[in-house]
Symmetry: C5
Amino acid sequence: MDIATVIGLVGGFGLIITTILMGGNAGGFVDIPSVVVVLGGTFAATFVMFPLKTIIGTIKVAMKSIFFKSQDPADIVRTITGLAEKARKESLVALEKVPIEDEYLKKGVLLVADGSSEALVRSIMEIELDFMKQRHRQGQGVFKGMGMLAPAMGMIGTLIGLVNMLQNLEDPASIGPAMAVALLTTFYGAVMANVVFIPIAKKLEERSEEDALFMQIMIEGVASVQRGEHPSVVKDKLEAFLAPALRENS
Amino acid sequence: MDIATVIGLVGGFGLIITTILMGGNAGGFVDIPSVVVVLGGTFAATFVMFPLKTIIGTIKVAMKSIFFKSQDPADIVRTITGLAEKARKESLVALEKVPIEDEYLKKGVLLVADGSSEALVRSIMEIELDFMKQRHRQGQGVFKGMGMLAPAMGMIGTLIGLVNMLQNLEDPASIGPAMAVALLTTFYGAVMANVVFIPIAKKLEERSEEDALFMQIMIEGVASVQRGEHPSVVKDKLEAFLAPALRENS
Amino acid sequence: MDIATVIGLVGGFGLIITTILMGGNAGGFVDIPSVVVVLGGTFAATFVMFPLKTIIGTIKVAMKSIFFKSQDPADIVRTITGLAEKARKESLVALEKVPIEDEYLKKGVLLVADGSSEALVRSIMEIELDFMKQRHRQGQGVFKGMGMLAPAMGMIGTLIGLVNMLQNLEDPASIGPAMAVALLTTFYGAVMANVVFIPIAKKLEERSEEDALFMQIMIEGVASVQRGEHPSVVKDKLEAFLAPALRENS
Amino acid sequence: MDIATVIGLVGGFGLIITTILMGGNAGGFVDIPSVVVVLGGTFAATFVMFPLKTIIGTIKVAMKSIFFKSQDPADIVRTITGLAEKARKESLVALEKVPIEDEYLKKGVLLVADGSSEALVRSIMEIELDFMKQRHRQGQGVFKGMGMLAPAMGMIGTLIGLVNMLQNLEDPASIGPAMAVALLTTFYGAVMANVVFIPIAKKLEERSEEDALFMQIMIEGVASVQRGEHPSVVKDKLEAFLAPALRENS
Amino acid sequence: MDIATVIGLVGGFGLIITTILMGGNAGGFVDIPSVVVVLGGTFAATFVMFPLKTIIGTIKVAMKSIFFKSQDPADIVRTITGLAEKARKESLVALEKVPIEDEYLKKGVLLVADGSSEALVRSIMEIELDFMKQRHRQGQGVFKGMGMLAPAMGMIGTLIGLVNMLQNLEDPASIGPAMAVALLTTFYGAVMANVVFIPIAKKLEERSEEDALFMQIMIEGVASVQRGEHPSVVKDKLEAFLAPALRENS
C-alpha cells in the first residue's frame, strides 16, 4: 500500500519537472534562496506551532505512511473467531497461551484471561483507542500545519521580491526576470503544500481511521469472547464491520 | 435519478464548450501538456492522499452515483409492515421464509427469525450502518480531495507558464499568447473541480444520507417486528421518517 | 415575515442597478452569453450535485422562505396549556376531539389520546423532527451549493474571456472592452451568490431552526400533558423555551 | 468591560483615518455612492438572510455588547453558598423570601421553594440556558453574515467600477482616479467587516459563553441547595467553575 | 520544550530578514506608519473582539507557551500508583498527608481523603477540566483572531496606499516606490499572522490538549484509588493513556 504514496510523489514531481523542462528554461526554476526561505520559514513556524516531541513523533508517523504494512481485517476476524471457539471448548484462562501477533489484541485477551471484568477490559481498550487517535491527530496536525504555512511563506517570499523589484524599476529589462524570481517562492510553496504536505496529512488520517476500525473490531471481538458468545455469532457481528468491497480488495 | 448527473455533466460541459466556440478561437483552449499537468498532478497527489484500495473502491462508488437505482422508501415501509403482520399472525420464525430483496433488511430479519436478542440484532445492524457511512465518506473524500487539488494544480501550471513568460519578455507579441496558455491550466483546474469533482463528491454524500435513512428505517422496523408491535403502530412509526414531499416525489 | 426577503432582494438589486445606471453605461453590463454561462453552468453543476427529487423539493422550500406565515410561539404554549387543563378536568381520551390546527401537534395528541406509551409518542415525534431537519438541510444544501458554484462559474467565464483576449492583442483599442466583458461573468456570479443564493440558504436555515424550536416545544408539551402535569407547571416549562425578546417581537 | 469595545472601535477607525490623512489626500477616500452600495447592499442581503424579528433583536444584542455590565462570578458563588446555608438552617421554603437580583437564579430558587422536583427544576433551567444560547447564536449570526457580505459587496462595487473604467480607456489620465474610486468599495467592505462586523460577532460569542458559564454555575448551585448539601461542599463545587485567573481579574 | 517556540520565532524572523538583506535594500522594508496601521489595527479590532479580561489573561497564557515546563506523564502514573498502594495498605484517610505537587491532583486526593462520594469527586474534577479547556480556548481564540485580523489590516493598508498612488500617476518614477510601500502592510500582516499569531494559537491548543490528557489521567487515577483497585490494575489502566512513543520522548 506504500506503493500509492511512492507512485504519487514520484508521479507528481515527475510531471511538474517534465512540464518545466518542456518550457526549455529549467534553470530559471531553481533559486536556492527561494527554497531556503519557503522551506526554512515553514519549518520555523512549525516549531512555533508544535512542541518539539510532537514534531519528532511526526517523523516516525510519516515513515509509517510510506512503509506501513496494512493488516487484513478478515485475518483479525478469523483470529478472534478462533479465540471464541477455544474459549468455549476450553476456558477463558486457556486464551493466555494462544500466541497473538497484534499487541493491542494480545493485551485485551490477557486482561480477559486474567479474569478482569468486562467493563474494565473495555475501558482500558477504549482509552488506548482514544489516545491512539489523539496521537495520530497530532501527526496529521503537523503536516496540515505545514500545508497551510508553505503557501503563506511562498507569498511572503513573493512580497519581498515584489517590493525589491518595485523599488528598482529604472532598468525595464530586469523587471521580467525579477518578477519571475519573485513568483518562484509562491510556486515552491504551492508545490510543497499540494503535492507533499496536504496529501500526506490526508493519508495519515486515512491510516488512523483504518487502525481505529481494526481496534474497534478487536474491542467488540474481545467482549464477545469474554461473554462466551457462540463463534458464529462472533463472526456475524465482526463481519458487519467489513464491507464486501473491503474484503475483496484487501 | 442517474439522469440528473448525466444532464448536469453534459449541460455543464456543453455550455462551457459553446461559450468557447462563440469566441471563435476554440483551438486556443486545447493544450495537451496543460491537460496532462493538471489531471496528472491531481491524480498523483490523490495517490499520496489515499491508500490504493480506497481509490479503487471509489471508482465503483462513482459508478453507483450515475447508475444507481434508488429504492422507494414507501416500499420499504410496506415490506416491513407486511413482516409485522406475518410475525403477529404466525411467528417470528415464519419470517425466515419471506423473500426479501434488500440484503441488509434480509440479514436483520434472519437474525430475528434465528431468535437473536433485540440488542444483538440492533448492534449488528447499527455497526453495518456506521461502517457503510464510513466507507461512503472515504469515497466522497477522494472526490473532495480531487476538487481541492485540481485548482491547486491549475495554479501551479499557471505559475510555471508565468515564470517562463517573464523570463522571455523580448518579443512583446508573444506575451499575450504565452499568458493565455499559462491561464489554461487554471481554467482546466477550475472546470474539473467545479463541474466534476466537487459536484460528484456532493452527490455521493446525498446518496449516502439516503442509504443511511433507508437503513435506519429498517433498523427501527426490524426492532418493531421483533417486539411484536401492531402493524399499524409499525406503520405510524416508520412513516415518521418520510416527509410527505419525499413520498410524493419518490 | 416574507417581507424581509422581498425588501432585501428588491433593495439589493435596486442598489446595484442604480450604481450601474449612475456610471452612465448600463448597456455595458448586459451580456446574454455571460448570463447563460454563469446561471446555466451553476444549474448544470447543481444537477450533478443533487438528486432530481432534492432539487424539485428545494423549489417548494424556497417558496416557503418567501411566503411562509410564521406561527406565534406564545400561541403554541397557550394551545398546549389548554390541552393540559382539558386532560386534567376530563381525560386524555377527551383530547381526541379538540380541534388542533398544527398537523404535527395534532398527530402527537392523537397518539396520546389513543393510549400510546409516552416513549412511543416521543420516539415518533422525535423521528419526525429529525427528518424534518434533514430534509430542510437538503434544501439549504442546494442553495449553499449554488452560492459556491456561481462565483466559480463566474471565474471560469472570466478565464475564457481572458484567454480569448490575450490571443488577440493586436488591436489595443479592443483590449479594454474585451476585458470588461470578461469581468462580467465574475460580476454576475458574485451578485447571484451574495444577494440571492447564500442569503436564501441562510434564511432557510433560520426557518428550519424556528420550526425545530416549535416542534421541540410541542414534544415537551405533549409529554407534560400525557404525564398529567398541572397546567401552570406546563406553562412554566414551555415558556422557558421563549425568550422575553421573542415573545415581544413575535 | 464595554470600554474594550469602545477603545477598539475608536482606535481602529482612528488609525485608519490617520493613515489616510498622512497620505495628504483624504478627500479621495470619501465617495458617497460607494458607501451606499457597500452598506446598503450588505443590509439588503442581510434582510434576505434573516427574519425581520431576528434583525431587530440583534440591535438590542449589539447594544448589550457595548453597555453590558458583567456579573462577578465570585458574587454568584457567594450568593448561592448563602442560600445553601439558609436552606440548611431554616428550610427550602424559606428561600422564597430571599431577595435575588438575577432573574434566572431567582426563577430557579422559587421553583425549589415551591417544592418542584429536582429533575423539573433542572429541566426548566437547562431549557432556558439552551434557548438563551440559541438566541445569542442568531445575534452573532447576523453580524457574521454582515462580516461575510461587506467584502463581497465591496468586490461587486469594484467590479462595477472596473467594467465602467475598461469601457472608457480613451483618456489615459482618467484611468488612475477611476480605478482608485473602484477600489474604494473594496476598502469600505474590508474596513466594515474587519473592524466592526466580525469583531462584534466574536464579542457577542464571548459574552454568550460567559452568560452560559454563569447560568451553569446557577444550575449546579440550585441543585446543590435543593439536595441540602453542606455550604462548604457547594462552595468547593462551584469554585471548580472559576479559574484563579478569572477570579483575580474579574 | 519552550526551546521549540524560541527556535521557531528566531529562525522564522532570521530567515525573512536574511532574505531581505540579500536583496540589498533593507531600508525599503522599514516603514513605521505601515507597522503602526497593521499592528495597531490588529490590536484595536482585537479589543472589539474580546473582553478586556480575556485579553489580559491571554498575555499570561502566551508566556506559558514559551516558559512552560511540561510534566512527565509517566511521573503522574507513578505518583497515582503510589497513592493506590498507600490507600490499600493504610486507608483513604492516610492519603491526606501524602505531599502532592500538582494542585489539581492534590485537590482530588483531598476530596477522597475527606470521604466525598466518588460521583462528587469526579463531578468537581470534570467541571474543573471542562473550564480549564474553555479558558484555554479563549486564549487560543485571541491569537487566532489576531492571525485573521493581521492580514486583513495588511490588505486595508495596501488599499489605502493603492488609492493614494492611483490618484497621483503624473510622476511615473514614483509609481514603483509608492506601490512598494503599499505592499509593505500586506507583507507585515502576512509575517505577523504566519510566523507569530497563528503558530502560537496552535501551540496553545497543543498545550491545552496535553494538560487535558494529564487531568484525565488524574481523574481516572483518583477514581481507581478511591475504589481501592489493585495498584497493578491502576497502572495498567493509566498506562493505556500513554503511547509508547510519548513515554520514550517525554
